[in-house]
Amino acid sequence: MKLLKYFPLAAENIAARKLRSILTMLGIIIGVASVLTTLGIGRGASADIMQQIASEGITILNVESGGYSDQTWTSGQPLTMADVTALSDRSLHPDIDQAVPLYRQYIHLGTGNSSMFMEVVGTTPAYAAIHNLELAQGRFLTEQEIAQRTKSVVIGADVAQRQFAGADAVGKSLRIANQPFTVVGVLRKRGWDRFGNMDIRAVIPLAVAQDRLRSTSPAHRHRGEYTVSEIQVNAVSIERLDAAARQVEQTLRLRRALAADEPNDFSIESQAWLLETANSVAATLTAFLAGIGAISLLVGGIGIMNIMLVSVTERTREIGLRKAVGAHNRDILLQFLVEALMLTLVGGLIGIAISYGLATIVERFSSPDFPLAVLIEPGSLAAAVSVSAACGLLFGLYPAIRATRLDPIDALRHE
């Protein structure tokens, strides 16, 4: 490679003017370091958010009666246990893992002396599975309790704290809608997710809820089937979420005998948009930071061009001599181009090193409440290196061309 011979030459010239070279590189160094660090923090944060979203039941579709279509609300027939049974048919719904019925009600719950107004959910053991519920004490509801309509209750961590002051709650009695229930389990504290605050929640067998928590609506039975307030459909994976939603829609439209031109009178709420939103926020952030990075690299590049132009003027005599002893225009062009390239590449590499240093410092400020992860991706590194190299070529080109245009006689005469 003939090009390679210009690199030692460029290295010598750069090393011969250390201070100037470092000052020249500074623009690129700061540009690359700041972009990589901020981009890394952005990526780290969004990876964190993605992970949280994924752990919070992103694969669950909320199916409820009534739906918006063209900004008009269409109220629909209530969802029933027959719908749940239909959706549980794996042969017709290959992308549905399971369909879990929910009957929920805001209601008073308490021991004799204190009472809370909170959400009580009637459901099946599958609920624990699709929400990845973990128990701090006791156990979750069993199939047997569901079938036998036992008045058992699993309570959230905050409910246990408020009602039993941290003492062992399992086996204790609680009144829900003025009826006695036995606590069989306490959920591990987990805070808010998109389904609300799991810590202030009580879970009881579905049929018991349908029987005992009745208020005015929804109707207790519809066409002979028990109604549910919501069906949570768990898709087999995030990738199959849309397909699962289509399968739910198809089945429910059929079961409700909706004509082709009628809108859905039910709604399927997916949280995939959350993932998409998070992704698009991350993309916007990335574009924004890349924009800032581009500007700072532009400034750095202009700095390089400036210095290279000064350097060409300063080295007019050197260029003249080189031409006199046999340097072709191409040799001069490559000499200055490689020098600019090397300045920016070295600047880029120093910038990368600094960004790793900054990442370590930033991560030191990380805490559980304010997690700071810096994720510097190989793609960003490759981009940083290639962008700085491109900068060098782009901004080194004009000074290099200027150098080749020098007439050797004038150059030699130059003082």
Binding site: K5, E12, K323, A324, V325, G326, I409
Partner: protein, 237 residues
């Protein structure tokens, strides 16, 4: 050394510079030939056109009119690339102000023409050290110009001019910036190579230096006013 055709053959050569609206005739209708192995001094007052002549001979400048043949090739018909290659292979330059690279070692200075000739680093190094040894600077190879005396600098420049074994050496006031004694040493180096067959063309306004040559070409106002062979008075140290 004899050859059927001269090394340099200039016919009716004119070089005119335009400074604003005024035309400056640096060379007017100059014709001369220089054979292989000649030792020529070009003398004249400043502004007589001697540097311009040297630039044209060295393929650094192009004549406005007339023809210039070097090595049987018509310079006017050569591309920039060919001229540069010819300069690299056949012509060595020595300047009054040495024109060394400010930060390079003597070895690097001497390697310069070889770098552009495309020689390997190893071969370049060997030849550069060899050239430095020939000018008596074997022990100064790692020194930079600021660590060398004026005479040593000029000797580095000579090593650089001769490293690629050119057939023609063009020197522009080579002793102008150094003391007389060192100047004589420099001239001795040239003359030693001349005996080995190198063609020398030395521009000088120093009559003593010119007197060492075998032929003196005198320029005035861009024309040759005398061209005298001095075979009898050839002086060698």
């Amino acid at each position: 050394m004899t050859s059927s055709s001269p090394l340099i053959d200039i016919r009716n050569l004119t070089r005119t510079y335009h400074i604003g609206r005024t035309a400056l005739h640096a060379l007017k209708n100059v014709s001369l030939t220089i054979d292989h192995g000649e030792y020529v001094a070009v003398v004249g007052t400043s502004g007589s056109g001697k540097s311009t002549l040297l630039n044209v001979l060295g393929l650094l400048d192009r004549p406005t009119d007339g023809t210039y043949r070097i090595h049987k090739q018509s310079a006017g018909e050569l591309t920039d690339r060919q001229r540069t290659t010819l300069r690299n292979r056949e012509i060595g330059f020595v300047f009054q102000e040495f024109n060394l690279l400010a930060r390079a070692t003597a070895r690097r200075q001497a390697e310069l023409p070889l770098f552009y000739a495309g020689l390997s680093r190893k071969e370049s190094r060997r030849r550069a050290l060899d050239a430095l040894a020939q000018v008596g600077l074997a022990d100064r190879a790692a020194h930079r110009p600021e660590e060398l005396s004026g005479g040593q600098r000029q000797r580095v420049a000579i090593a650089r001019a001769l490293v690629n074994s050119p057939s023609l050496l063009l020197a522009d006031e080579p002793t102008g910036a150094i003391d007389t004694k060192t100047g004589e040493e420099v001239m001795a180096l040239f003359e030693q190579r001349h005996l080995e067959g190198l063609t020398l063309v030395i521009v000088t306004h120093d009559r003593e230096i010119a007197a060492r040559a075998r032929r003196i070409i005198t320029l005035r106002d861009g024309t040759v006013i005398s061209d005298e062979p001095r075979l009898a008075s050839a002086v060698l140290p």
